[in-house]
């Protein structure tokens, strides 16, 4: 999985590189448009175009029949039935290409989230570094047999530390005094784990931003799939996850200053669908 992540990171870094200076609405606009067109082509080559075309033509014919024989109840009813049946056929025919499209969609959305969902920590702000320890290591820490410490690169000051009663959770507060991509190093016993902390104005960090790295398996999707940028600790590591707070607001940062439309995922859907529809006649795709 991590090799795949590295590949997708590399691909996306490459894609985003020429658009580094663009405002988010423009870079996301270009990406969404390209993805819309690529998805359209993918649809074309993974769907049974001739069958979809046939079904569409059938619908057209039935509609015409309804118009011509609108006084004839028998014809109208059978035409209506035909329309419903053809529509259902189109729905069935579009399932395989949609399933195929779903596979690249997950890493793709994860990559876009990394660039548009999260904003860097503002300079001067305080972030909590929330570390979850493995049960075994927490036990040791509680009995003073092992220590856990946080080191931060220059420009980030570690303010204080807190441990839960069972030591399974250890939090630090850090203040970021200088913009840039900083590195946090968690030292647990004789092992170290690093997590990046982006600091600065929104859009000032060209790389993807991730709030968390983890080896937990939660919900339906593998976290390593959704958080592809930083390697997760191995399953038996003393550190289970490292999370930094303050990177994401409850509402995704606005791409455009318009409510709802400004949400990157809504914006992405609208632009990609728009471009797919725009290029549909050009590539002669039937959907």
């Amino acid at each position: 999985m991590s090799a795949l992540n590295r590949l997708s990171n590399w691909l996306f870094d490459l894609t985003f590189a020429p658009m580094a200076g663009l405002p988010p609405w423009a870079s996301l606009g270009v990406i969404s448009a390209v993805i819309g067109v690529v998805m359209l082509l993918a649809y074309k080559y993974t769907s049974w175009q001739s069958q979809i075309g046939k079904a569409r033509d059938e619908i057209k014919a039935r509609m015409l029949a309804m118009k011509l024989f609108k006084d004839n109840l028998g014809v109208t009813l059978s035409a209506q039935g035909g329309v419903i049946w053809s529509s259902f056929k189109i729905l069935l025919l579009s399932i395989p290409p949609i399933l195929v499209a779903m596979i690249p969609m997950v890493p793709l959305l994860a990559q876009l989230a990394g660039r548009y969902q999260f904003a860097p920590l503002p300079t001067g702000a305080v972030s909590e570094v929330r570390v979850a320890l493995s049960d075994a290591f927490a036990e040791k820490e509680q009995h003073g047999e092992a220590e856990v410490a946080l080191e931060a690169s220059d420009g980030v000051e570690v303010l204080d530390r807190w441990r839960s009663g069972d030591s399974r959770q250890v939090w630090w507060r850090v203040r970021a005094d200088r913009p840039g991509m900083h590195t946090l190093t968690v030292r647990a016993g004789d092992q170290t784990f690093t997590k990046q902390l982006p600091v600065g104005e929104p859009g000032s960090i060209p790389a993807a931003i991730s709030p968390k790295l983890t080896n937990h398996y939660t919900g339906m999707l593998d976290n390593t799939l959704m958080l592809p940028w930083e390697p997760a600790p191995p399953a038996d590591a003393p550190v289970r996850s490292i999370e930094v707070s303050g990177l994401m607001t409850s509402v995704a940062p606005d791409v455009l200053p318009i409510p709802i439309l400004g949400n990157w995922i809504v914006y992405f859907l609208i632009v990609s669908i728009l471009f797919a529809l725009l290029f549909k006649p050009l590539f002669n795709v039937r959907i």
């Binding site: 606009g29 530390r161 441990r163």
Partner: protein
Amino acid sequence: MQNAECRMKAICRTERDCGSTACIADGLRSALLVALAFVGLVLPGCGEKASKAEGKKVIVLGLDGMDPRLLRRLMDEGRMPTFSKLAAKGGFWELGTSVPPQSPVAWSNFIVGGDPGAHGVFDFIHREFEDGQILPYYSTNETTYGEKPYEMFGFYMPMPWQESSKLLLKRGGKPFWDYLDEKGIPSRLYRIPANYPPSESKHGYVKALSGMGTTDLMGTQGTFQWFSAEFDDDVGSPDDGGRAAPLKYDMEMQRWHCKLAGIPNPMVIAAQGAEMTIPIYIEPDREESIARISYVNQAPKWGMDQPVEFLLREGEWSDWKPVVFLPSPFDPGGGAGSRGIVRFQLRKADPPELYVTPINFDPAYPSGKITEPDDFAQELAKGVGPFYTKGFAEDFHAREAKIKIDLGGYATELRLFDDEDYKTQTQFVMDEGKKLLTHALSEYKDGLLFFYFSSTDLVGHVFYWEPEPGEPEEFTDHPVRDDEDAETYTKSLRETYVQCDAELAKVLEKAGDDATVFVMSDHGFMRYKRKLNLNTWLLENGFISLKDEEKRRGSLNDLVDWSKTKAYSFGLNAIYLNLKGREPQGAVDPKDRDAVLREISDKLRATRDPLDERPVVKTVYRTDEVYHGDYAPGGKFDQHTPDLIVGLHREYVVRLGGTGDLSLKWIYNNTGEWSADHCIAAELVPGILLSNRKITVTDPNLTDLAPTILAEFGIEKPEKMTGRNLFAPPK
């Protein structure tokens, strides 16, 4: 593919390098630029109406309770250069205040350009009658209760067609900005006092954020919550507002927990109205003085529950945290719940003690009407983030709060805020005000801008203790602080004043040369050492009769024999006759009204302090002489109007009447945390007025500002206003 290339050309409308992605990107970029330009130009303009002020600007900076003597002293010391500069350009005058000089009354005078007879606000607290009982209400707003909801499956089910409870603005009269609104002149009012809920803007030119009088989410004037591991279940309430509750330890989870009280659940049928609460958890570190505080907000409407978790060191304050009280997804509000914001102070880490501010409305999702129009609150939240929306944001109740507990057989008194805590908390309010002012100035183009700071008043009540040259020695020492302490804390009020200087500098910079600028306060300040209980005075002077001579503790309703009672006090400075036809059990015949009023007034004026034989009362105002308008005695709406207003001499203040407790002496030493006040004779506590233009009257008054502002925009003085235009050429 031929065909495709051809079409691509049509999209790009250019010959160069067509068919490449760069070309599509170009096309896309220009399309998006056009869209963005459209959005940028059209959308922000949508909510804003075109101003007809033609560039005319009037800016009013309202500084509650700024005292002219202290200000003069600081200006002379050179600590307020911007004030001095403004005074040199136009002038600095004492501003006549209202009778009585209480903030809601004074600001209402400012708002309607007339005395209390024009707006019907006579005191902080008014009285009303229900089933023959006297009950208090906050004078500038009141909640009316709606229809009783239907009961279903053991729950209340309020239906959309039922009348729900409503919050009403009780200040009468027409605010001066309504006249500007009619003429298309924009007004922006930030934290405007005595205007909650904000009055409606009929023409859409008014944007107002309500100030003093605005309640917290619970509908009170400010209920803090105080949790301590030292409290048990029957800890009771602190004496002066606020709540106290225990923190309990959960061995298994290794954490402390308490319940943050919210608002009554409108759907639960219970005698007391079951309260919605949020469990709060505190987990101290096992060695260091730091703890994690956590709770979960239920998701309003849809979405996921939001956990809120943060660390606090001992003594540290959190920033604003959201709290959500959700009765049920099926509640009449559509499951939106009531949303508020609070700040936490971890007073002790282990065993913990926690202070939580009163629950303020969340301006980003206001659950109450705090602005006009409604979305102005969100606009402000977007501009400056969350802020105190409550009227009295400075938590003086927390400074005064104490609780008696039993500590292993010993009675101990626990206190909440000390001076430092109060200073810290009031500075939060001040800092938010500064941020909001910067935002307000950046948004302001023309028309009226009013901006209000409260800290000059509420810091003053606790920290004002200025020695006056040549005053009697026995009054220069502080009632509860030693000289050094008094000196130290007078400094923090001086610092608050000095901070206002920098704020004025921001205002003057924006104003430039063409704007008319006013800096004003609603009243000044006076320290006090002695407190009066007017109802005990009335009792001892034969105007109040008791049912049982021995029983003096309780409410007036239980103690007083109304059939023999001639007058009683309610609120701070007001005396009401027990008049037949007006009061439920009236005893004074209207034809005797004049004689009884004269008798009370004469006796009050003759009253001497038993301590040193000094006169206690300076002026007794008859409302039928000093008030004019529909709310004055004899007017259309005079049923709530007091008959006398008592104006005390300096060094005295009235204890809040109406709650009864006639067991207190009529006069006694002040031993409380408040050392200064202004609810005395109006002549003794004028406010301030500074302007960049010279005024033409010699005795400016609060009521003059409204007609002057209107005149600046070319609007003639409305008939109902009794104030004067301060710039009118002398006749």
